[in-house]
Symmetry: C2
Subunit: 166 residues, 2 copies
DNA sequence: CTTGGAATGTCAACAAGGCTGACATATTCT
DNA sequence: AGAATATGTCAGCCTTGTTGACATTCCAAG
């Protein structure tokens, strides 16, 4: 039953299986953001701030335009978040060296501290999930997620993970 | 190097691996919601409407309180969304049979059509990802997602997937 | 029967964080 | 010199989350 031409079972492609995957994504993403959200709420920041901090940490010196592309929001939206982070002394914006129109973004010491706190919390949940599921499951997890991305996002993602710091 | 007491490699639990998983979740979730978002934008609905429609479809006759617990929002927030769906004739709200304080929620024919359109789009991307990654990867994907949920969410999730329609 | 509590709905106000459009400024490229 | 680029900013709008207050309706305990 439901055997493909190559004799391989395609039961994992039924609507029922796909629906389970969809609902798993929904609930898991809530868990994924829950811990940072709690920390951020105390400091009256939101997810938008977290995302900005995360990617500035990942690519220190990145420009505003780069960040816009990674986050997929408008400059007005990002600017609001960025302005508050700069005012609060978590992010530093330096005029570009070669091209003075650009602003290079860096985390300050305070910014790095918050980044640490947030990513520790998020990593801790991830680590627990990984440990529970085991290495083979983790490999599959990443494969499916990568296949689920849009082309542009996959490029962003690969640029980050391959070219990332060692 | 990095071998546990049982001789099993723990390299998949390094901060680097965890960070990749975190970023994969971020980008994949964008892809996950992209197709429904496009359809919803045309009809001037948002993700909140999609979520309500999805879970009413999954559990026809569910009460408002049930839906609140599943979605994790306040009744006021849900009520706004629900009201517009009822006004537009996508959702029907019937007074409860045994307990008349409760409202039982159902999709109308029109509501079912939109649900179909949305879930077709979302399933299509899921199917493509599943097919690319293969059945073993899918099993791992689900395992990690389930391990990532909060207790309450996992209960919600299991109640849905186990007790769900056949 | 009355009263307390539960479930629901509604109104108002507010905030975060998306969006668009328009415009200013500085800088670089042609 | 003029066009294009990168950024910032102002104003206004939308969705979707929040809290607080209050009305209604119904069930169940006293």
């Amino acid at each position: 039953m439901a055997e493909g031409a190559g004799g391989q079972s395609l039961l994992f492609l039924t609507d029922e299986q796909l629906r389970k995957g969809i609902e798993a994504m929904f609930f898991a993403y809530r868990g994924f953001t829950a811990d940072p959200d709690r920390i951020l709420a105390e400091k009256s920041y939101g997810r938008a701030h977290h995302r900005a901090i995360h990617f500035i940490h990942r690519s220190p010196g990145t420009t505003v335009n780069n960040l816009l592309a990674t986050l997929g929001v408008t400059k007005q939206s990002l600017n609001r978040v960025l302005r508050s982070l700069i005012e609060d002394g978590l992010v530093e914006s330096r005029v570009g060296r070669s091209d003075k129109r650009e602003r290079n973004l860096y985390l300050t010491t305070t910014g790095q501290e918050l980044e640490r706190e947030l990513s520790d919390a998020q990593r801790e949940r991830m680590r627990a999930a990984y440990r529970t599921a085991g290495p083979e499951a983790v490999a599959g997890f990443r494969q499916v997620l990568e296949a689920m991305m849009d082309e542009d996002m996959r490029r962003q993602y690969e640029r980050l993970t391959e070219g990332g710091r060692k």
